[in-house]
Symmetry: D2
Subunit: 339 residues, 4 copies
């Protein structure tokens, strides 16, 4: 079968690979749609170390093509979104066969070959049924929603609270939409590009602050009558953005950090104490029902993923797909690949 | 000044009353708009005992006309919504002058003469500034929102949870809108009249169940794949509605009771234990910032109170106003009176 | 092997039964100690319907004697406490082999033959390792602790809050101890017998109210300066006790119901609303780590189960064991049986 | 009257000062006992900037000696603990006379003259009644308890959770006791001195780690089977201690920072995200009932403050008192001064 393979930094090409086989408890999925996320881009441009050669990709949807001997054949032909992390296979939970409870799951496409291929084998516990009315290109975009849910679940927004979302990449946009749906009052967002703001507004942002033109700290202070926001969520992973989190939040407010990068500035302790803040670190999608709830939000139409998808490519054009995603050229937000 | 006076059951008339005076810490408010709520109707039809004669009314907005000697004269002429309960004057908090902290507040219009008059004296701590963009007829409709906020604040809805709101009177409609804004997924509502459902839908209800035609328990079961709703909120105060609360909620779900009537059936304990439920009793508007947040929800346009106001009367037509509110004739939801 | 068998109401006798066998995923446990709880007593005296003949008993500890073919032989000889409910075998979770996630577990000793026998087969997921320093007679008494933890976890006692525990049977005593450990301030308990109060006091109760001599509502009011308790937990399952719960709790307080009986009076809704209460129904031991935490509380010595065990019997004396437990004769609290 | 006056760094002496007078809403308190805390020591040794000359001291108990004209004369002669911060007098809350609600309170002894004198005037809202059975030397030690309550209230310890308290100065010891009372399981504490560990153990610590001899991170890992603690609370304000907080806590655990110093190392963001942590900054005593609850914990005997008081001085010996407190000589923990 054909598969995209990262062979080095900024080097990706199509290769012919052997067909995957289903071990007991696993199934082979024919990939219908996959999306590129920041992790893929960073594997491509070298900001994340990757054992080359590697088939990248982890956020995808597909159709079950085969099951292991003795497996549940009723799955064959059914459509699913697929959770992106594999059970480690080594821990006590895995040993007991409770793969879903593994605490050391590993992202596919990084620690093992991923979904930017025609087919891939995954454990059955990774499958999330794709209901009628949800398209495959939507079901391949669930990870930002699941990460966002894992964030807003913990923040417990009270109806009318003011929220700042720093960064309007895919996760920032997903968080913006989820905060709007969860009762945020004034909902301020920042980015260094104008491109995403049209989506931000459609998702419920009330104020879009371009940090290349506006002092975000000052703007947030003005928009909150000097008090600061009730909640500030940093999603960009940019040092300059991470550095202003504690300045944007009000006394006794809440802060969340999702944006991940090695060069983020550390947080000073004094303002966290002086303002009596609560700081939430968010390290992934939680894995406790967030995927199922994400797909329901898409199904019910409460989140329209359409505006996020700016580019679509065939697997044959994987090099162009990666270049677009990594460069964020032409206002790129989300790039979808259909094998 | 002119005032509406309840003189007996189903007896209301205009009388001339002396002008109110402001004691220290109090102000005289010229009433701009007042709304009738279920309490007013029940005082009128005798379901709530009232010491006649009594000027009814407690949900209103107005303009400060005078302050006590030595009071803050900058308030004169400013516009406010007014919180409906008076400090008792007797408790330790009142004795210390901390009127806002009184735990035994008493509703005006019931325990003292109310707002269905040209003017009324209230403590300064009861004033909530009416911001630009909020009309007086909107500011006289805050109590259902404040009660609703006091409910959803405690329920802490998770994004996507299924909610049933039993009853679509003013409080039921307010709760429906607040649940929609707070992240409810499927949002089912019930009533015995079709009239309010147009508003319910505009406010975000996904399923409107007319209990004269539909078995609500069965319908909720079907709409939740047999599981029951995550959250059930009873607002109607009708025995038949209160009786199905525990049947509509899922295992480990949450229940809230707001609808108040003397003839509500008691709750059996076994299903509360067997289903591991949490039951929240809601006894009012909380009085901890809910009014301020309600007016902001109106100002920002997130709640459009227009569809709730079905009838408007002048103070001269107070008899017709009460008759309309009490009989719920012509699809009446909220009746506003402008002195 | 020998087993106690309930053959009718108040009829229990020893029988010879076939040795149990371990299906895949199951193990055979040699019972070291078992305790009788209220459910066993009520099966015996007919207050709980039981399909006779039935081997009763569900709270026990033992040693693994054999595993299924291909099972983990390292378990053989190891000591465990055993969780008392079996996966249903029918639900989607059971179908997927995730037995621990079954939502319809069924109590052994009631829905299937139980532990008052020399041996019993149970699923491996029901085993909780018994650490060094915990004796088998202690490990057979974990259910009241697990139920109690499932209660106090949800109540989230703030340090110094006043608590009333109604009923001082084994669950009431366990709850008393857990509340004391969790920060309760004044800790009032009630019972109709003097016998358990010595244990109550050792467990941290500050005030023991004998309801045959004292008006508990009045006493709680006096002990709380008229305010009522912050938290009231009903564990007795007696109608007269259940009836006073709402009278003992303060405004904005919390209530929990654990005590289970068919003749409990229902809860009036008005006081739940008027007092703005939160009512927690507790339907079991939660099954989310409560057993593991219970055994650690015993191991660390923070709960001394000794004072609860008033009687010990050999399996040969099962009739006397049941009669003592059911009659609560001689100050009986917990009866332990060692096959 | 006599008063201790800081006239410069490490310079303190007795002076004769004019008698304080009670403004409206204020009272004059005759100081019965005062304690020195870290703030006092740091004002003395120059680590906190102080406008000299200044009468230091803020944690104290006394007897009301006089009230303002027209004030409540029944207060005269009554005994109180006194909250240590004064309303600012400038904010909207102060303008409305709601002094207790001021959000910009200022510590006495730093921003105004303090309690290390024979008498001091304070607002009536700062008085906390000292009940029978609580001595004045106990009532002058409430601040560490109030700060500790403000911490454990937010951490919401689940019964049996493992806790590490870094630093065993007065606040660290208070937190240790409060965690033990709140249900902590294994309760590990650290300090660089052996002296406080006797108190730590009496307060419920299970493991005392002297950081001059033990690698605390390694020890905590061992004591928690490699997982890390559920909760880590840094109270010392020492850089080396603050630096290990994130290494001691488990995945999905909680962290609190109370220890305040200008040279604390900042917190890296990556581990906060990677471990999905929640970080609580604690900036004071909360001012929402914590003093009242603290005095009740002392009254009921649940906290024995005796072991914390290592030194007592008369006001005449104020220089020795400060030298002892600042140098922590002779195992000093708390120094009490009786004017």
């Amino acid at each position: 079968m054909r598969a995209a393979v990262l062979t080095g930094i900024k080097q990706v090409r199509l290769e012919d690979r052997p067909e995957p086989q289903a071990r007991p408890g696993w199934v082979v999925v024919r990939v219908e749609s996959a999306s590129l996320c920041g992790t893929d881009s960073h594997q491509y441009d070298g900001r994340i170390d990757t054992p080359f050669p590697r088939v990248p990709g982890h956020d995808f949807a597909g159709r079950v093509e085969s099951v292991a001997d003795g497996g549940d054949e009723s799955l064959i032909g059914a459509h699913f979104a697929v959770k992106p992390s594999l059970p480690c296979g080594d821990c006590p939970e895995c040993a007991r066969g409770q793969l879903a409870d593994c605490n050391r799951k590993k992202l596919i496409g990084l620690w093992s070959d991923g979904c930017l291929a025609e087919k891939i084998a995954v454990p059955q516990v990774n499958l999330v049924p794709r209901p009628e009315g949800v398209q495959d290109w939507q079901a391949c975009l669930l990870e930002p929603l699941a990460v966002g849910l894992n964030t807003v679940d913990r923040l417990r927004i009270m109806l009318g609270e003011t929220v700042v979302v720093l960064g309007q990449g895919p996760i920032g946009l997903a968080v913006t939409r989820l905060c709007a749906l969860s009762g945020a009052g004034r909902l301020m967002v920042t980015d260094a590009r104008e491109a995403p703001f049209a989506v931000s507004r459609a998702y419920g942002a009330t104020d879009c602050l371009n940090v290349t033109q506006t002092d975000a700290v000052k703007a947030v202070a003005e928009l909150t009558s000097g008090a600061g926001a009730d909640i500030v969520i940093e999603t960009s992973g940019f040092p300059a953005s991470s550095a202003i989190v504690l300045d944007c939040v009000r006394k006794e407010g809440k802060v969340a950090h999702i944006g991940w990068a090695n060069d983020l500035p550390p947080l000073p302790v004094i303002p966290i104490m002086a303002k009596t803040l609560t700081v939430f670190g968010v390290g992934g999608n939680g894995g406790r029902g967030q995927y199922e709830r994400s797909i329901e939000l898409v199904r019910s139409g409460r989140i329209d993923l359409g505006p996020m998808v700016t580019h679509r490519f065939a697997l044959d054009d994987i090099a162009a797909a990666f270049e677009t995603a990594a460069s964020k050229a032409e206002g790129a937000i989300k790039v979808v690949v259909r094998p």
